[in-house]
């Protein structure tokens, strides 16, 4: 008995040590990105870059937080890009059909939340289905519905105040940046300070043990996927506001960018591991990296290759370190 307690403590310290180091690696990479950007472009290092530029890449970052929960559960959700498109398209169509804008925005969030809830419900109800297949199906269906509604057209003409979401500033800080910080704090508390967060980690490590220890695992899965859909709706609001109009093909590939950010942030796809700081750093690493390469006017394919290489290198580092720790645990 006392043996087991000792083992538990040892393990705890190992994990902490590991994450501490991983986040420092990310901080190092971020500083390196900033240094390289400053070197290759005289226009990079200034106040605007750090305060205003994030507004250009933060729209998809809202999904990063719930996606973290999904990955910690050792699952994945590739339907979020389509959810963004569907909720944006329905919002625009409803507004143009006469619904007042605040209600249309509420409808956007509702549709997105339902989209996520459907994923969650399918996974809970039909446990034999793989989460990849379920979210792949809804990814196709949601975008398909968006195309059925709008065809090949764009819809917009929103009221002037709606552009505030994507373009507005409070004391020179973009509103979207402040919203991102607030969301980060909320999800950070949810993940690290609540029983719900602990349940998510527990299920990621061992779903069966969680079930036997009285965690309502079905409700946790359902809630996490619904949150993922809901935050895709938030992304839809900000993206549509920045663009001033929307189309069924918006946010194509967002799911992959989001998953890339979460993975670079040190959240393991095999579940149970992750801290809120990693993905936040990853959002800024990828954001500033592509922004800096843009300032240097590099061709688009080069940007893709560099980000891809960064991702694979980070995942490999992570994998090897993770395996070494796991081995220690299993020998104990």
């Amino acid at each position: 008995m006392s043996d087991q307690i000792r083992i538990g403590i040892t393990r705890e310290r190992n994990w902490r040590e590991f994450f501490f180091q991983w986040e420092w690696i990310l901080v190092g990479v971020l500083l390196l990105v900033i240094a390289v950007n400053t070197w290759i472009s005289p226009y990079f290092l200034n106040f605007n870059t750090f305060i205003r530029t994030p507004a250009t890449f933060l729209d998809k970052a809202f999904i990063v937080f719930p996606m973290m929960f999904v990955l910690i559960l050792a699952k994945i959700d590739i339907s979020v890009g389509s959810t963004v498109a569907l909720s944006a398209v329905i919002m625009a169509t409803a507004y143009n059909a006469g619904l007042p804008m605040p209600l249309a925005m509420l409808l956007c969030l509702t549709v997105a939340g339902i989209g996520g809830a459907i994923n969650g419900w399918l996974l809970v109800k039909f446990k034999e289905l793989s989460f990849v297949i379920v979210t792949l199906s809804t990814m196709i269906i949601y975008r398909g519905i968006a195309y059925i509604i709008l065809g090949d057209q764009a819809a917009g003409g929103f009221p002037e105040w709606f552009s505030y979401l994507g373009w507005g500033e409070i004391f020179g800080v973009p509103f979207i940046f402040l919203a991102f910080i607030a969301t980060a704090i909320a999800f950070g508390l949810l993940l690290h300070k609540t029983t719900f967060g602990r349940a998510v980690f527990g299920m990621g490590r061992n779903a069966l043990a969680s079930r036997y220890s009285g965690v309502n695992v079905d409700r946790v899965v359902f809630t996490v996927f619904m949150l993922n859909g809901l935050m895709a709706g938030v992304t839809a609001l900000f993206l549509t506001s920045r663009m001033g109009s929307t189309r069924p093909n918006v946010a194509t590939g967002y799911e992959l960018e989001v998953i890339a950010m979460v993975a670079l942030g040190g959240v393991s796809t095999s579940g149970g591991i992750g801290r809120i700081g990693g993905p936040i750093l990853a959002v800024f690493i990828i954001g500033f990296l592509s922004y800096g390469m843009g300032l240097a006017n590099l061709r688009a394919p080069i940007v893709l290759v560099v980000i891809g290489s960064l991702l694979i290198a980070s995942v490999l580092v992570h994998r090897i370190r993770f395996r070494s720790k796991k081995k220690i645990n299993s020998t104990v």
Binding site: I25, G28, V29, L32, V33, V36, N37, W39, I40, Y43, N48, T49, T53, T56, F57, G151, D152, Q153, A154, G156, S163, G166, W167, L239, R242, M243, G244, S245, R247, N249, V250, T252, G253, L289, S290, Y291, G292, M293, G294, L295, A296, N297, L298, R299, A300, P301, I302, V303, L304, V306, I307, S309, L310, A313, S314, L316, V317, I320, R321, S324
Partner: protein, 343 residues
Amino acid sequence: MRKVVISLLIVMLAMAPAAVLFASGSGEQDGAERHAFVFKNTGNPYGDKQMEGFEEGIVEQGGEAILRAPDQPTAEAQIQIVDQLVAQQVASISITGNDFDALEPVLSRAMDGGISVLSADSAVNPDSRMVHINQADSEMIGRTLIQAAYDMADGAGDIAILSATSQASNQNLWIEWMRTELEENPDKYADLELVRVAYGDDLRDKSVSETEALLQSYPDLEVIIAPTTVGIAAAGRVITDRDLIGEVYVTGLGLPSEMAEYIQNGATPYMFLWNPIDVGYLTAYAATALTSGDITGAVGETFSAGRLGEFEIVESGDGGTQVLLGAPFRFDPDNIDEWKDVY
């Protein structure tokens, strides 16, 4: 051993951003005025030619040209590029819009910052530009293409349009004029039916599958009009591969270098285009005329465009102003050989 691998990977991690340094090549020239051109997407030969012409026009005036294109033909990708250009304080931004309205917030911000903004080839709305550089009169392009289809179909049968993206404003305007031509001459076109407008998004694979879908759905299809260089080449390829030469004809707007094969084998009896190099070149001169204050983008102003001569700003159909390059040029088996090596 593991430690070696880990440190190796960490070095790789660090190298990724550093690799940018080497890829970025030479730095910018000091003092030269910098003019940017943003095309719809990468991998489009027509766009490459436009950018080539733009660079030629800017460089011969002593400026520096920045050529950009996103990897996806979307407005959101172009918004990010424009943001980056504004941060670099370029003198002018010329853009081939992926969306008529969606670029307005970012482009008006650029203009507020003192940057001259103009659209070329595919327009953005009049509030987000100072002037639009148009290849040729849109009405003439639209009407000419329907007359060509009428001629190829011998006056009867189904015709379809294979366009770029559904938001491409230049293609949409031409399609509008094609419909007008059909509606205004109901007697002449009584037996000609426009069955569908398909969108290949200026992506080669999607254009090919949209063409296949058209052939499948409309067995009586006589002519495919593709008012985009990517679409017409894809349609020409499908018709040739499927052995449908002589049964289904392809016409529209194409690059002579890409279309020579299909013009010679009969898949495309003839087609049209202006010189995309000249579009870029004219845009370059309009951009410098705007930044120097010689013109403001108002109707009636004139400016000189190097080897192309004098141009006047005229009213355009969307409520803004534009500059017209000239009439579209017809390519057929008699002249394709002399043009296919030019562009």
